[in-house]
């Protein structure tokens, strides 16, 4: 697959070679069960706790506040379901453009009748209206606010400080789905803006099948999975040691190379916007692409056209991998719920391009050149 252009890094990202080294070594040499009392077990436990410590240090929290899970979806589920069970949450304030791991879980909880859901209004760029958030907070006590940090489809960024301070002003808990921003921004959990945050290693060049939940010591949700009482009784199941070690390494590298990588993907994004505007008339960008936005995500809205529906297919034939929206709902032909919330009824075609450190300016040029062939400039008048 080496000649293909991969512009779907928000769906999943290639693993970093250094991460792979750590994992391979761990799989071969540290194969004990961390719960076992013998030498093999202790070695595994040490690696697990070292990994936790690395993550905690990078994020400025206590190791005990990092709970390993199988990924972002599980972490989001545990936080939402577990705080309804354990922390007296009666209202969940969220937005219509959350990832399905949050949105469907909140829907499910509402269906069970255990919480009421309240959706925050968005402005025309897709940002949360903070005054509406405040209104909802003032009307709904015992609330949990769940708002994602960086939107996976349109890239919009939320100010954790503003949203968190607002939530806390009204005594609400604040959960932010930080899956897209973890490793991309230096999130400092010691500031106390968020009560819950999550990470999924495969979004920051780590392995699939491992993630974590951050939860402050005073707000412990009920566990989702019970059994061997691992992870401070919050998450049972034999710990995925080699993957945890890989995740810690991936986060470490992300922090180490953060500025450089952010600059790189931001350049690619700017470049793509610039030449798309030049080459394809009528192109617009969803969300606040040029403002408060993820540097690696660009949601492009192409003008209505007969071939629009085939655009992703044609891109793939041309060796370019991109996405129509979130991978997690890519199978369904219902269109993106995020785009629908922002532009109901639009017949334009949306493609999400998301960049990684391996992408180059040449790849962007090739991609746009290809796109141009499907959107020819009308003969000059």
């Amino acid at each position: 697959m080496d000649n293909r252009i991969y512009l779907d890094n928000a769906a999943t990202s290639p693993i970093h070679p250094e991460v792979l080294d750590v994992m391979f070594t761990a799989m071969k040499e540290v194969y004990g069960n961390p719960s076992s009392a013998h030498a093999h077990g202790r070695k595994a436990k040490n690696l697990l706790e070292e990994s936790r410590g690395t993550i905690a240090k990078l994020l400025h929290c206590q190791p005990g506040e990092i709970i390993f899970t199988s990924g972002g979806t599980e972490a989001d589920n545990m936080i939402l379901r577990g705080s309804v069970k354990n922390l007296g949450v009666k209202n969940i304030i969220t937005s219509p453009i959350e990832h399905h791991a949050v949105f469907h879980t909140v829907e499910e909880l509402a269906k069970e009748g255990v919480v009421k859901t309240h959706l925050v209004e968005l402005d025309e760029l897709g940002h949360i209206k903070l005054d509406h958030l405040e209104k909802l907070l003032s009307e709904n006590p015992h609330a949990l606010v769940s708002l994602m940090h960086g939107n996976n489809e349109i890239g919009n960024l939320l100010s954790l400080k503003k949203a968190g301070e607002l939530a806390h002003k009204y005594g609400a808990l604040f959960h932010s789905d930080t899956v897209q921003t973890m490793g991309q921004f230096a999130i400092d959990l010691s500031q106390g803006y968020v009560d819950f945050a999550v990470g999924a290693a495969h979004k920051f060049n780590g392995p699939k099948g491992i993630g974590f939940m951050f939860c402050s010591r005073k707000n412990r949700p009920a566990p989702l999975i019970t059994g061997g009482a691992q992870e401070r009784e919050l998450r049972s199941g034999t710990e995925n040691v080699h993957a945890a070690a890989g995740m810690a390494k991936a986060l470490e590298i992300s922090f180490r190379d953060m500025e450089k990588k952010r600059e790189h993907v931001q350049n690619l994004k700017n470049h793509m916007m610039e030449i798309l505007r030049e080459e394809i008339p009528g192109v617009t960008f969803n969300g606040d692409a040029e403002g408060h936005s993820l540097p690696n995500v660009l949601s492009v809205s192409f003008p209505e056209s007969e071939t629009g529906e085939m655009l992703l297919f044609n891109l793939d034939i041309a060796g370019i991998s991109a996405s129509g929206g979130s991978a997690c709902s890519a199978g369904a032909n219902v269109g993106s719920h995020v785009i629908h919330a922002l532009h109901p009824g639009s017949k334009r075609t949306t493609v999400r391009f998301s960049f990684g450190k391996q992408n180059t300016v040449e790849e962007i040029d090739q991609t746009v050149a290809k796109l141009k062939t499907w959107y020819p400039v009308p003969a000059s008048v």
Partner: protein, 403 residues
Amino acid sequence: MQLPIYLDNNATTKVDPRVFEAMTPFFLNDFGNAASRSHSFGWKAEEAVDYAREQIAALIGANEKEIIFTSGATESNNLAIKGVFEMYASKGKHIITSVTEHKAVLDTCKHLEKLGAEITYLPVAMDGMLDMKDLENAIRPDTILVSIMYGNNEMGVVQKIREIGALCKSKGVLFHSDATQAVGKIPVDVIADNIDLMSFTAHKMYGPKGIGALFVRRKNPRVKVTAQMDGGGHERGMRSGTLNVPGIVGFGKACELARLEMAQDAERLSKLRDKLENALLKLEESYVNGNKENRLPHTTNISFKYVEGEGLMMAVKDIAVSSGSACTSASLEPSYVLKALGLDDELAHSSLRFGLSRFTTEEEIDYTINYVTQAVNRLRDMSPLWEMFKDGVDLKSIEWSEH
């Protein structure tokens, strides 16, 4: 030969190099998200997942559509039991299980009790076997699920799963089996065994940690479980979350290897196990726990009477073994499984579980025999209880004064 010798393969196993090799490309070039439907990175990942599903299904006689991927057996057990409890709430709220189940089942049942479930915990006989009559008598009109493990993690006892499955079917009750220790070690056939739901995991059969599966029957009857995690609707809506593609590929390979090599592994390991067991039973006052006829081929659990438990663990440092389940070994409590067989606290404490693997050598077993024999003898030489026993004092007759 490398020390310490790893004989705790019921806790977890080393990844087979062939599994490892199968996984590698999916870390490197084929790293796509299996749910990405718009490009070939995604398709390639999905193809690999589908292939692994077939490999896994083939090992247990299932259809590939009946395999739901999870993060491991604990999650599978949770999904099966909580999922059935929620899905079949209108039919009833009674669940039957046994006292020697893994904590992943027992804790989940305890959790459901708080939510209004009625749980019957069946006792076992001194050899760890369930009495079929007990089970039959426990089934009520509102029983929705029977959850009985296939092979026990501590003593290796294999229940009469086929009889249990047939009984459940005749009574119209769903049957879940935690087959974490059995799959890949002994033949398991979900159709012949009439199993409706079955939990198992890769890392107990030379696959990677962090990946497991729940078999959910699709025909006769069509079984459904309520999802415990919502999101992208992966795994037919029963388990959301980006699929762990390299883990799944490794799991598939591990299952294929098990299917092809299980018979020869089992034959070799049961011989080695028997050699170890017979040699250690030459020590006076040592006993095998659990039924020896119905047992996993690679497991033995032996109690050494008049040996102090903590001392024993310390004295066998060259051998990585446990005195019970890894998931509870951090606590100083004696094994609840052994206590359920009727062992007292002292004897349960002075028990060792040996779990052999594909990588265990005869040399390692020979070393273990000598090493453990010497350790037990040394500890007994220092033990006043052993001395009294040798002097013919009936220890049960002594009234211990309290200090």
